[in-house]
């Protein structure tokens, strides 16, 4: 099996599990299919030699964010199917709008002349390593990195403030 076949099979699995996220009626199934989608996207990262991001994607997205979603869903006890149905014309309009957007994207993006930039396979393979990314992160991107820590602190404070009982706020 050559690498092209693997790439196409992975792409098909990614799209299929992403479709199941929006099509399954049960919210719990949607979340689990989204976890599958994130694993597929991580596999795509490995295929593109972005090993660090593949691991971070599994840890942060599938491990942290999706567990948070699952936790909230279970805490609110919404696992039974109580979602009100969207009307059929509304669904048709949404699908037509999304399909038009896809047609515009594909028409605009796939016709461009994307010539191979002549990057040596050696440098392209080294890009995704922790060593290269860490060096770049702590030299060129040091200011955004520090600012993102401030963002995290404000997110933590905001989440604690919002999730407290109302009597205790103030």
């Amino acid at each position: 099996m050559n690498i092209e076949t693997i790439a196409y099979i992975l792409g098909g699995l990614t799209i299929g599990s992403a479709l199941m996220v929006i099509l399954s009626n049960h919210p719990m199934r949607s979340i689990l299919y989204l976890v599958v989608t994130f694993f597929m996207i991580s596999a795509n990262y490995v295929l593109m030699n972005a090993q660090f991001l593949a691991i971070v994607n599994i840890i942060v997205y599938a491990g942290a964010i999706m567990v948070l979603f699952l936790f909230v869903l279970m805490m609110l006890n919404l696992s039974k199917d109580t979602e009100p149905k969207t009307s059929i014309p509304m669904k048709a309009a949404a699908v037509i709008a999304g399909g038009s957007l896809l047609v515009v994207f594909v028409a605009a993006l796939s016709k461009g002349a994307h010539t191979a930039p002549g990057v040596s396979a050696d440098s392209a393979n080294n890009v995704g390593l922790v060593k290269v990314l860490g060096h770049e992160l702590f030299t060129t991107y040091i200011l955004p990195f520090e600012i993102s820590s401030v963002l995290f602190i404000s997110a933590i404070v905001g989440a604690v403030l919002l999730a407290k009982r109302e009597k205790q706020v103030l």
Partner: protein
């Protein structure tokens, strides 16, 4: 031995189309679902479609800037999910529902 990159056997257009499809699935999900948790998940799906394209171009051009942008997008997505879900818990506490239609009340 130097391993070849994926782009010697698969064109960059394949990843352009793949992440476009993922993004559109996210948009359609936001439009057709009424459960606010699923809507937030579809936003995450759209963010991941953009991440996939950034990584593809980063490998295609052999430069690491795209992968660092993906790193920062993950940071912002984590913060967004935290605050969004806590707002959702607060709304559920007041209205006993996470129906997205009830967010009309923000007007009043």
């Amino acid at each position: 031995m130097v391993l070849a990159t994926i782009f010697e056997s698969v064109s960059i257009q394949y990843y352009l189309v793949l992440s476009s499809i993922l993004f559109v699935i996210g948009v359609v999900g936001v439009l057709i679902r009424k459960n606010a948790i699923i809507v937030l998940m579809c936003v995450e799906l759209m963010l991941n479609a953009v991440n996939l394209l950034l990584v593809a171009f980063s490998t295609f051009f052999g430069q690491s800037d795209g992968q660092l942008f993906v790193f920062f997008i993950m940071v912002v997505a984590a913060a967004e999910a935290t605050v969004g879900l806590s707002i959702l818990v607060l709304i559920y506490r007041n209205t006993r529902s996470v129906d997205i239609g009830l967010f009309n009340k923000l007007k009043d």
